[in-house]
């Protein structure tokens, strides 16, 4: 049944966990849509045959709806619409909430290509390698105008905005190659801003990743006009950026408060702001604080940090976020342990 409907509706293969569940609702909604619109069209046509005009100026009875009828035409559509909403919104909340144990990849869109960077090393233009059956979270940003990251086979899409991060996630179910398209109009070659997701069996992916790290190539996303090339992981690069930009003059790495809050254990810490509100220091907050530091000042600190908008490129900001994420007090503990001693502090 699934295959028949999918073929009739020209839907692409279902290569992610989200695709399967969202398509079920798709079939339901489209079937009801087709049946009801054809029914209304046929009913109008049928009335035309049944109640054709016999003579000009023919008189007709006065027909008015009862309250029951009017209630029915309100309630019946509403029940259908709300049922779809409940099912669809449930799926959507699932889709917008990445699980805890995702593998993260930074995605940068620019006219007219996609760049991918893994926190622990390799990076690529145009091709994203991911393991099957493992949730992957994408942290997306743009270097110029708005793009939109669209993988039809996964049924996912997320706008890619300059100056901020958006996130999306997926769990690919079948190894294979899947096309990435840009869905937000971005100029001359918008229609050629294509990429590819290569889904590999997990073991194969791990081997691939290892191989990438061995002969770690030049970081494509920091080369060229973005500054000097850098070899190493994103965390190492982030440390270099932090030193180069003077971040560490005010932010300590050892847990001591200084002119600004310490970066140790900052990631996913709940911070109380001057306004009394609390925020979770996630990727979005960290990036916002680099670009617009005075918007959300942590309680007890002075609004003295300058903005880094225009000074940090998108890969720089991504590297800084990764560097901050790597600073966990547990990591300082050097005694060996046999089992996991902490749950990574993530959502």
């Amino acid at each position: 049944m699934n295959e028949i409907m999918r073929t009739i509706l020209w839907l692409p293969v279902q290569a992610s966990t989200f695709a399967k569940s969202v398509d079920q609702l798709h079939y339901f909604v489209i079937t009801v849509t087709m049946v009801s619109s054809i029914a209304v069209g046929l009913l109008a046509f049928g009335f035309f045959f049944k109640y054709r005009q016999i003579r000009p100026r023919q008189s007709t009875p006065v027909v008015v709806p009862s309250v029951k009828f009017e209630l029915a035409v309100v309630v019946v559509p509403l029940v259908f619409f709300l049922a779809w909403f409940v099912q669809g919104y449930g799926d959507y909340v699932w889709y917008t909430t990445p699980p805890k144990d995702t593998m993260d990849v930074y995605v940068m869109g620019k006219k007219w290509m996609w760049k991918f960077a893994y926190p622990d090393g390799p990076n690529a233009v145009g091709t994203l390698h991911v393991p099957a059956n493992r949730p992957v979270r994408l942290l997306l940003t743009s270097r110029d105008v708005i793009h939109s990251f669209f993988v039809p086979d996964f049924r996912i899409k997320m706008d890619v905005l300059p100056g901020r991060y958006t996130e999306t996630w997926f769990e690919a179910t079948k190894p294979g190659r899947y096309q990435v398209l840009c869905a937000e109009y971005c100029g001359t070659w918008h229609s050629q801003m294509w990429g590819e997701v290569v889904v590999m069996p997990p073991a194969e992916f791990d081997a691939w990743m290892l191989q990438q790290k061995v002969g770690l190539t030049e970081r494509v996303d920091t080369g060229g006009d973005d500054g000097p090339a850098f070899h190493g992981t994103l965390v190492e690069y982030g440390k270099k950026v932090a030193m180069g930009q003077g971040c560490l003059k005010c932010h300590s790495l050892d847990g001591d408060p200084h002119i600004g809050p310490t970066w140790l254990d900052l990631y996913h810490r709940r911070e109380t702001l001057e306004t009394g509100e609390t925020v979770i220091a996630d990727e979005a907050y960290l990036t916002d604080s680099m670009m617009d530091p005075r918007a959300k000042i942590v309680k007890g600190y002075k609004p003295v940090m300058p903005t880094y908008r225009g000074k940090l490129t998108a890969p720089d900001a991504a590297a800084l976020v990764e560097f901050i994420k790597s600073l966990r007090s547990q990591n300082l503990d050097n005694t060996p342990s046999k089992e996991a001693i902490y749950e990574p502090a993530r959502r």
Binding site: R57, Y89, Y95, A183, H190
Partner: protein
């Protein structure tokens, strides 16, 4: 027969008389047209203007469709293609769709339907036409010389960083907004103050109710698009950094502002279309309107909730999931109000005496398109489904079902219904039905493949596309030629009818709409004397006749 036939005496044996001295020839010369304060003449000038805009927008659409026949570049370059779809969108929306039904049939019919001599502010009415011409000229000149390539949506920071000149276009849209506001304001005041004695609120024709709801949106929402285009223009020229994050701005804010107008703008286009259908279905089924109050109030309901649904254009923009859910539910309420109308229109046909002519075929097509287009609207408002469909051809097909399927069907139906009233001549009814069948079928053939293209994952505004989308694109282009063919037939027989058509007489459809209570074409003053309105519009039985009352 006396040329100045008593316009209130609509005896059953009434002859087909052409009103020799009418609004078209009461004053002569180009200057008398350009300086006229007559709502009917202003309506006719709008008619000519929007038809030219439609022709222009249609040509751009055909160029886009022809280019898309193959996946590879053929006819035009990538940049030209981007300008073509920008032109198509801007001309069709700002120059054609927004002023089409209110500007032409609102102006022409509204005072006739209210038993009034003119609109409340005739000078303002003429001004709105001049403002429309000025804005349109500026937009067209700006696009042709400046090469705008942003799409009609002007999304920042693309619009603020493109090397093309945009300011004249943006300023043109800003000016066009004033035309829309003036028309809306004029109609609101007219409906409140110029109803003839006897026409109470609940006896107004439903077209008037629809125009009333439309006018409210025009007055309240249009300032926001004026503001938005002005801000984008200022940012583009002066580098203000309102929307460009590179200068500290927020690109999503621009989208909020844009859709705060442009979503209600959909109802500026579609509400008058619904009003036209209420008139036409009643007239051709010779039936009282089934559920008059429900249809009237649902127009106001759509106008109201339409203001709070804009965020459904931004489900994948990074907006919070809570907002997405709220906007989704509000959007679905629009669907409920539309469903009320649809069921009541179908109910109007029940036990009617249906006369089949071109307009009735358009009405059947309209019912199918509004249900399919409306329900696919609910489908894209279902947030999880929208993630896949967003910015694909599914959305393109959905809004063309509403804007072409519903609005153009209503526009064509309105032309065919009121043409005899406007010009006093009859066109060939047989050809009108042939053309209507071409249009309804051609429309389906053009846009149903586009729904499937969206399912398959083809994003909109694509100049080249992966080869797997070729088949459906070829079908769509083939369908569009059928559609174009239908329009050519209509143009031929209508122009022919203007000169050689049979005399229509005051009421060729035997309609009981109030606007038929005068001669065709109407005299300059509309009515020779104030009429009585003892009955509701579209009451299809003779005075004194025993009437069967049915409640279902």
């Amino acid at each position: 027969m006396n040329q100045h036939a008593d316009s209130s005496a609509l005896a059953p044996t009434e002859a087909r008389v052409y009103q020799e001295i009418n609004y078209l020839n009461a004053d002569r010369g180009v200057a008398s047209w350009l300086k006229t304060l007559d709502h009917k003449r202003i309506g006719v000038m709008y008619f000519v203007s929007v038809l030219l805009a439609f022709l222009l927008g249609g040509i751009f659409a055909m160029i886009v469709r022809l280019e898309l026949t193959t996946p590879e570049p053929t006819l035009i370059s990538a940049n030209t293609y981007n300008r073509m779809f920008t032109l198509h969108g801007m001309v069709m929306i700002f120059l054609f769709m927004i002023p089409a039904i209110p500007g032409v049939f609102g102006n022409f019919c509204l005072p006739l339907m209210l038993g009034a001599k003119d609109v409340a502010f005739p000078r303002l009415n003429l001004l709105s036409l001049y403002v429309y011409w000025t804005g349109s000229a500026l937009v067209l000149w700006g696009v042709i010389t400046g090469g705008a390539d942003t799409g009609w949506t002007f999304y920042a920071p693309y619009s603020t960083t493109t090397p093309m000149t945009l300011f004249p276009v943006l300023f043109g849209v800003f000016i066009l907004g004033f035309s829309s506001i003036l028309t809306g304001l004029n109609f609101i005041v007219t409906i409140h103050t110029l109803r003839a004695p006897g026409i109470t609120w609940m006896k107004m024709p439903l077209f008037v109710w629809a125009i009333y709801a439309t006018s409210i949106i025009q007055v309240l929402a249009t300032p926001v698009i004026g503001l938005t285009t002005l801000l984008v223009g200022i940012e583009k020229v002066g580098g203000f950094g309102l929307f460009d994050p590179g200068r500290g701005g927020d690109p999503v804010l621009m989208q909020h502002l844009f859709w705060f107008y442009s979503h209600p703008a959909v109802y500026i286009m579609v509400l008058p279309a619904m009003g036209v259908m209420s008139e036409i279905i009643a007239a051709y089924a010779r039936k009282n309107i089934f559920g008059y109050k429900m249809i009237a109030y649902s127009s106001l309901g759509i106008a109201f909730v339409g203001f709070f649904a804009w965020g459904h254009h931004m489900f994948v923009s990074g907006q919070s999931p809570f907002d997405d859910g709220a906007f989704a539910v509000i959007s679905m309420l629009v669907g409920v109000f539309t469903a009320i109308k649809v069921f009541n229109w179908v109910g109007t046909l029940y036990r009617g005496a249906i006369y089949v002519s071109g307009p009735f075929i358009y009405a059947c097509g309209f019912l199918f398109f509004i249900v399919f287009g409306g329900m696919t609207g609910i489908a894209v408002a279902t947030v999880s489904l929208d993630v896949h469909w967003h910015d694909t051809y599914f959305v393109v097909a959905h809004f063309h079902f509403i804007m072409v399927g519903a609005v153009i069907m209503a526009f064509l139906a309105a032309i065919h219904y009121w043409f005899p009233k406007m010009f006093g001549k009859m066109y060939h009814e047989g050809w009108s039905m042939v053309a209507a069948v071409f249009i309804v079928l051609g429309f389906n053939a053009t846009f149903i493949p586009q729904f499937l293209l969206g399912n398959a994952g083809m994003p909109r505004r694509y100049y080249m596309y992966p080869e797997r989308f070729t088949t459906l694109n070829v079908f769509s282009t083939a369908g569009s030629t059928l559609l174009a063919f239908g329009f050519i037939i209509i143009a031929i027989y209508l122009i022919w009818a203007l000169k050689y058509g049979d005399i229509a007489g005051p009421n060729p459809w035997n309609s009981k709409g109030y606007e038929w209570l005068t001669s065709s074409p109407p005299i300059k003053e509309n009515f020779e004397h104030t009429l009585d309105y003892p009955e509701e519009p579209h009451t299809y039985h003779e005075p004194g006749e025993e009437v069967e009352h049915v409640v279902i």
